[in-house]
């Protein structure tokens, strides 16, 4: 029962519900460039200021396949294939900040601004479960005569990018903070195949036992394949990869541009509304581009022997087989046409209510909103996916436990899951800020059963603002 329930959980990659609006952590500006932070300046520990990892699989878990339960793994795979469907998703997302820092402007117009900048690397993989293709590979077509295998089930997107960014957060008024961030993407490698259409089917034929038909409009676009070549050159994988990575990561890759926009608005001392839109941008792929297409229709009823065997001028036999191979090959093409991918756009919005003052003081007229120790809120997250946006809704509670410790607890539901609890801790020891955020805590008991889990942690040095 428990497993059946879990099987319905949808992974919600890149939803950073724990970080969003957690303004004690400078990385909050990466989730909302208009977050109302209050720092003089900050700098992240290089390579360790922001490490993020998330993996999700909505259709089945590692445990469903690899449980050490005495059941034949092939039976377990059979169950998975029966259970999963073509809208189940599998995701991996990993980010490492190489550099991250920020400072407050200190004269004139700049005084109300906070500038932040940095460089991070991001690896993301997303695919829908290729349901019909899995069935075809696992069962073959024998039991599916007259039924179609849907080729659009093949949908995959993977990219490795290096991102340079510069953002401005400006306090427009006591209540209103606005922010924007410009991003330059340097695409290191990309694989994208999300608009496939077509089907393969076998029916009883007229002139022969079966007629097999393929109607296809398939395309796989790739850039940066030299990275993949480097992987295949087994001897020096590390050296080769590092070399390629170096070339590509510093603006040497496939370049793109994007923006993040966001704001925070205090309705009063206690109510706050925020929203942000992230990675509104594109990458233009022009280097190391290799695209594969398979396009057209072919119906095959068998090789028709025409009798007698035809021998041509070169004394070669007319080759019915080669004809078929050539016809099928005609549908296939490779190009190096440049292409453009949109980055997965994310949308966040929250409304929160702060309350409770330290020491139970009912009225301290000099106190500001920053003095409340509790905050409850709701957070909406959406991310664009090839077929439809993925949505998650989070309720959260944040509390300043002591001067040096803030905690945030989240409860997230999305289309299928009602059990995602997360917790985040941000501590300040001196001016050092350490944070760790992790969700799907209920499943940490056995991570293999988790359909989705994410963790983010980092170390910063923060000089707080004066008020």
């Amino acid at each position: 029962m428990y497993i059946v329930f879990l099987s319905a959980i949808l992974g919600h990659t890149q939803n950073k519900q724990l970080l969003y609006d957690f303004t004690r952590i400078p990385q909050v500006l990466m989730q909302n460039p208009g977050a109302d932070t209050n720092y003089q300046w900050h700098v992240g520990l290089p390579f360790l200021s922001g490490v993020y990892f998330n993996a999700g699989s909505s259709g089945f878990s590692v445990y469903d396949v690899f449980a050490d339960d005495g059941v034949d793994i092939n039976d377990k795979i059979r169950n998975v294939i029966n259970k999963a469907d073509s809208n189940d998703i599998m995701t991996i997302n990993e980010q490492v900040e190489f550099l991250y820092g920020g400072f407050k402007g200190n004269y004139g117009w700049h005084e109300d601004n906070y500038y932040s900048f940095g460089w991070y690397q991001e690896l993301s993989h997303f695919n829908y479960w290729p349901n019909d293709l899995a069935i075809l590979a696992y069962d073959g077509n024998r039991n599916y005569i007259g039924e179609s295998f849907n080729l659009s089930h093949a949908s995959v997107k993977a990219e490795l990018v290096s991102v340079f960014h510069f953002g401005i957060q400006r306090e427009m008024s006591d209540r209103f903070t606005l922010g924007g961030r410009l991003k330059v993407y340097s695409g290191i490698a990309d694989v994208s195949s999300t608009n496939n259409k077509g089907r393969f089917f076998t029916e009883f034929g007229q002139r022969n036992e079966y007629i097999h038909s393929i109607i296809a409009d398939l395309e796989l676009q790739t850039s940066g394949y030299k990275i993949i070549d480097a992987l295949e050159d087994g001897d020096n994988i590390a050296d080769n990869l590092y070399q390629r990575f170096k070339e590509r990561a510093f603006f040497g890759g496939n370049l793109g541009l994007g923006v993040d926009l966001g704001f925070s608005y205090r309705l009063d001392d206690q109510w706050k509304l925020t929203a942000s839109i992230l990675d509104l941008g594109f990458i233009h792929h022009s280097k190391d581009v290799k695209n594969y297409t398979y396009n057209g229709r072919y119906d095959f009823e068998g090789l028709e022997l025409l009798f007698p065997g035809v021998v041509d001028d070169n004394n070669d036999v007319y080759d019915y087989w080669q004809n078929l191979v050539d016809d099928l090959r005609d549908l296939y093409d490779t190009t190096s046409t440049r292409y453009t991918t949109l980055r997965p756009v994310k949308f966040n919005s929250s409304i929160s209510y702060s309350f409770g003052r330290p020491g139970g003081k009912i009225c301290d007229c000099r106190a500001t909103y920053r003095d409340y120790v509790n905050k409850v809120g709701m957070h909406l997250f959406m991310i664009h996916r090839p077929r439809y946006p993925q949505t998650a809704l989070t309720a959260y509670y944040q509390r300043r436990l002591t001067d040096f410790l803030d905690v945030k607890a989240t409860y997230t539901i999305d289309k299928f899951s009602y059990t995602n609890l997360g917790i985040g801790i941000s501590s300040r020891i001196g001016k050092f800020n350490f944070y760790i955020l992790a969700d799907n805590l209920l499943e940490y008991e056995n991570l293999a059963e988790a359909h989705n889990a994410s963790v983010q942690l980092g170390l910063n040095y923060i000089v707080p603002g004066r008020n």
Partner: protein, 174 residues
């Protein structure tokens, strides 16, 4: 520190099972077919006693099939509406044109209604190499002596359908 704690809370999982994964798909596929009109056996007014055609068929001899094919069934179906009997010989040949297997069918003459012959040949075990080494399929159609004499205007048709059922076992190679 985090990673080690993750390690400790992954339990009851045995990744060695990956070695036991075995896919066992079964594919149905059309092979060769023909529809021969009666006049195909007439040339310049007289009967032709035998006609032959052949085709390369090397899908089954790819290294993939060699490694993963565990059984193959070839199905043949013959329909005769010509008033004469035939002997049909199917030779499975390898790359050196050596005969791996010969299948022979006697097709009786039609006496108005259509004559149907079905056969399924199963290849397993040692016989399987007759399929995995198969490169050329040769079909010879012999018109047996008899009457009525065939002419350009003779009615009827001799047809063959064929298909293969391929049983695969795809497993991690040790």
């Amino acid at each position: 520190m985090f990673l080690s704690s993750v390690g400790s809370c992954v339990k009851d999982v045995d990744f060695d099972q990956i070695n036991d994964i075995q896919l066992t798909p079964v594919f149905e596929g059309s092979l060769v077919f023909f529809d021969l009109e009666a006049n195909k056996f007439v040339e310049e007014g007289s009967e032709v006693s035998s006609i032959t055609d052949f085709t390369r068929l090397d899908a089954l001899s790819s290294s993939f099939s060699v490694n993963n094919l565990v059984r193959a069934d070839l199905h043949f179906e013959f329909v005769n509406t010509i008033g004469r009997s035939f002997t049909l010989t199917i030779n499975l040949l390898d790359g050196e044109q050596q005969v791996l297997r010969t299948l022979q069918y006697d097709i009786p003459a039609s006496s108005g209604s259509q004559v149907e012959i079905d056969d399924t040949v199963v290849f397993t075990g040692a016989n399987l190499q007759q399929i995995t080494n198969l490169l050329i399929m040769e079909v010879e159609v012999m018109l047996n002596n008899g009457l009525p004499q065939l002419a350009e205007t003779s009615e009827g048709m001799l047809a063959m359908n064929s298909s293969a059922t391929l049983y695969l076992e795809i497993a991690d190679e040790e």
